[in-house]
């Protein structure tokens, strides 16, 4: 096996086109890494500035009524993490900012893609994109005739006459391609790593994430390399092998991602926003409306407070009834929001399941989904951010309403305000990244699919090997 590995490796590396394409790939790695780091640094700077500006606006809002402050709210932005330099994922298409305010659960808005032209739909180069799309093309060019050329030149009979086992021959061929592809893969990631740290990007990448990310691409490269050799051996004809492999590349990289995404959208249509808003408003009307003095539920709530505290007038209460009413409004609307937003999230999740299960048929989809998941730039990380932000909104609004209720003011005292420094003492929203374990759990279909593909491709290669030297 090592004999064939050595021979094939030497033959491949001697070929001018392999040298040229390898150098081109390395140059592409340098360019995308440099550009990716530059854009990542700009995004990180913008994120830091925006976050500080919003926190400053919150802390310096002065002496205002807590419920007015809840209406003013807070704005959070899509966080930028170190791992995202490797893979942009869905970030350009996800809402970039989210306003957190009283009575209302907003959706993130203003995606980067909305500020781009239609030509942005042709795609954007990143390290992940090069590894997912260009690397397989490079492997195909290396491997399409790696076995078939021996059949076409009739050298296969000479090789067989020397007495090696076909498995040794095929595995040696596969390992030689794999070795070149892996060297380039690790070189690409090292280049990105060096450029990222040389640019003083600050935030370190998490080692476990980086290793998992590399592991994903290692599995991906193994699948493509073994399949390329297997096809070359199965077809025994270079033209047919190349045609088949290129057709597979187009099907997996270009056509299938769009087909699964559009199929998902057709199978699970999401409701119109106006319809959603209307149902939401209807359901909200069934609960207490804190800003509607004519609401009968407010009257009942006030009566219950008077009974509880055994007083006859609201301003005799030891608490500010307005703050409690506002919080009752929040508690009810939170239930309504949970109910309706869960429905929408489930629909979108079902849409994405089509491409998730498509990963079983397409290792590119598996690698793409897993790559952006580990790079923390996928839809699930984004959803987690939205969920965490919503929990923070509820905490913040509740804290403000309770300050109004128990801070020393009476019902109707809307001019009352706590000390202006009190707002600065409230904790800011901190993005807690999901752990790697959680991410790998989310993407279990994908990494299982990659492992399965490695096994199936290797088994197929060995199966082809059984009859390879029978002429």
């Amino acid at each position: 096996m090592f004999f064939f590995l050595k021979i094939t490796l030497i033959q491949a590396l001697r070929q001018r086109y392999v040298q040229v394409i390898s150098l081109m790939l390395l140059l592409i790695f340098v360019l995308v890494s440099w550009n990716g780091t530059r854009v990542h640094k700009m995004r990180n700077a913008a994120y830091t500035e925006a976050t500080l500006t919003m926190r400053n606006a919150w802390s310096t809002q002065g002496a205002v009524n807590p419920h007015n402050s809840a209406h003013y709210g807070h704005i959070i932005f899509q966080p930028v993490t170190a791992m995202q330099v490797l893979d942009n994922g869905v970030q350009p298409y996800a809402g970039g900012m989210l306003r957190l305010e009283a009575h209302k659960q907003n959706e993130p808005a203003f995606s980067a893609a909305q500020q781009r032209t239609e030509l942005s739909r042709f795609g954007d180069f990143s390290l992940a994109w090069v590894l997912q799309v260009l690397m397989p093309l490079f492997i195909i060019l290396l491997g399409f005739n790696i076995v078939s050329a021996d059949f076409e030149n009739d050298t296969i009979k000479l090789i067989a006459a020397q007495g090696p086992h076909p498995f040794q021959y095929l595995l040696g061929k596969a390992l030689s391609i794999l070795l070149i592809a892996l060297i380039l893969l690790y070189a690409g990631v090292t280049i990105q790593f060096v450029i990222y740290y040389a640019a003083g990007s600050g935030v370190p990448m998490e080692a476990a994430h980086l290793v998992s990310w590399l592991g994903t691409y290692t599995l991906y490269v193994i699948v493509i390399s073994v399949l390329s050799v297997a096809l070359s051996a199965a077809l025994k004809n270079s033209t047919a092998s190349l045609s088949m492999q290129l057709a597979g590349w187009i099907l997996w990289m270009i056509i299938m991602p769009r087909v699964t995404a559009n199929l998902g959208a057709n199978m699970y249509p999401v409701e119109h926003r106006l319809a959603f808003n209307t149902i939401l408003a209807e359901d909200r009307k069934k609960g207490i409306d804190g800003h509607n003095p004519a609401d009968q539920r407010i009257k009942a709530f006030e009566d219950s407070l008077l009974t509880h505290y055994k007083v006859s007038k609201l301003d005799s209460l030891p608490v500010n009834a307005d703050g409690l009413i506002m919080q009752a409004d929040e508690n009810y609307s939170n239930l309504v929001y949970d109910n309706h937003f869960t429905r929408i999230r489930n629909t979108l999740d079902n849409q994405n399941k089509v491409s998730r299960y498509g990963a079983l048929l397409n290792p590119f989809l598996a690698a793409r989904n897993l790559s952006m998941g580990i790079a923390q730039s996928d839809y699930k990380h984004y959803l987690q951010l939205v969920y965490d932000a919503e929990q923070y909104r509820r905490y913040l609004v509740q804290t403000l309403n309770e300050k109004m209720a128990y801070g020393g003011s009476k019902a109707g005292e809307w001019d009352w305000a706590p000390d202006s420094t009190w707002y600065a003492s409230l904790p800011d929203f901190v993005y807690q990244k999901p752990t790697l374990k959680t991410t790998l759990y989310w993407y279990s279909t994908e990494w299982l699919s990659l492992c399965l593909w490695v096994c199936l491709a290797t088994a197929w290669l060995l199966w082809i090997g059984r009859n390879l030297f029978r002429f």
Binding site: V32, N35, R38, V39, R43, A46, E49, A50, T53, M54, I75, G89, V90, P92, Y93, A94, G96, M97, A109, F110, S111, A112, A113, Q114, Q115, R116, T117, E118, L119, S120, R121, F122, G123, D124, F125, W129, V133, T239, L242, S243, I250, I254, I255, P257, R258, A261, N262, G264, A265, P269, V270, E271, R273, L274, A275, N277, T347, Q351, N352, Y379
Partner: protein, 435 residues
Amino acid sequence: MHISTIFFLEKKLLIRDKWILVALFLFTLTALWSLHNGQQVYHYHATAADSLQAANNANFANVKAQLDTLDFSHNGRAAVETPFTLDYRLKPMVSRELNPMMAFSIGQNDVLVLHKSARITQPVFSNDFDDFKNPEQLLAGSFDLSFYLLFLFPLLFLALSYNLQSAEKEKGIWINWQAAASKGLLAAHTWRITIRWVLSLAPFIIVSIVGLIWLSDQYNFMMVDWLKWQGYALLYCLLWLIIVWLIHQLRLNSMLNGITILGVWILLLIAIPGVVNTLSNSSYADSSQIDIANFRDIPEASWEAPFEVHKNYFAKRYNKPLKDTGLYSETIVKAYGYMMMTLEAEEVLHSNMTEALLNRKQMEKATFLINPAAAIFRGFTQVAQSGQAHQIAFEQKLYAYRLQRFYHMNDNLVNAYRFKPDDLLAMPEWNPNEE
């Protein structure tokens, strides 16, 4: 060699290969599905636009009913007559003009916000009526007819033509062609490529005609749009005919022919557009988010501005003594000044965002000579009105419409004091098709 002979020979060659018929059938199905996807998106937005209009009509009828019950013979003004309350109760919503050609090219319409609030206090960049977007789906992109034509048609043409002539040389039967068409080999070869080009176009032509039949039933469809779209499509297909013809002149073997055509495909559809896009993304970083976030403070700052500033704004439009010197006069002046200051700040912010987009478009346009697929795609989206250009126009029109509505309500408040049902009927109307 006579064209009819070439046609006859080609027909025999192609019919003999059953795989070609299977491929043509599969590509026709794919093209039909791509059209279906486009139609789904168009119907989704058309239905949303209709629902919005129905909600507008219902809100309008409600307000009209409220105004009809008022007694206008005394001076007391009801809350519903004041601009901000009136606007709040009308809750106007607008949709961007939808061209049914969008079914052919969804373009950027899946990303953009096509339905917006037209309330005077809701800035053009608000997203209360934005559809729920699925970022994973947006990342993958739309499988519409423009995708089929740009990406898949060249592959079908490649499959049907890569081994033309070279296969005959490889099989040793080229000598027959040389003997039959000794003086017109180039012409015969050109005819053969053209016949295969037309054959590759067959699924697209069929689906375009199916699309035309469907379009002719749609509101707002104009034949000239379909013709323009087909014009761009023809240009693109001709480009591929020329590319393949030129590659064949290199007299390569079948495998190299195939690799070269595929190499050009990757270059034109992936490499060049990708590089241009990556460059424009890094040159025009998305920096508007912080400005939009900061806009949150503008209304309050405008309200808190010195009264003199409000008065100046008021005086600019209403250069006459106020009819009403009663309780509301100061509030009226202040509310007007506040709204105009807020709208001005919004216009500045929106202009900056628009300018960045236009610069980006200009930069991309400068690359069109080496980026033909992108040029054709922009052409498609222009015809289908599914690009940023129409979104910019929509948002500018929406801004002007809100201003117009505000002037109508405020002029009435200042000059007539009461807002009667006839004033409601005279409210400016949104016409999405109006230039």
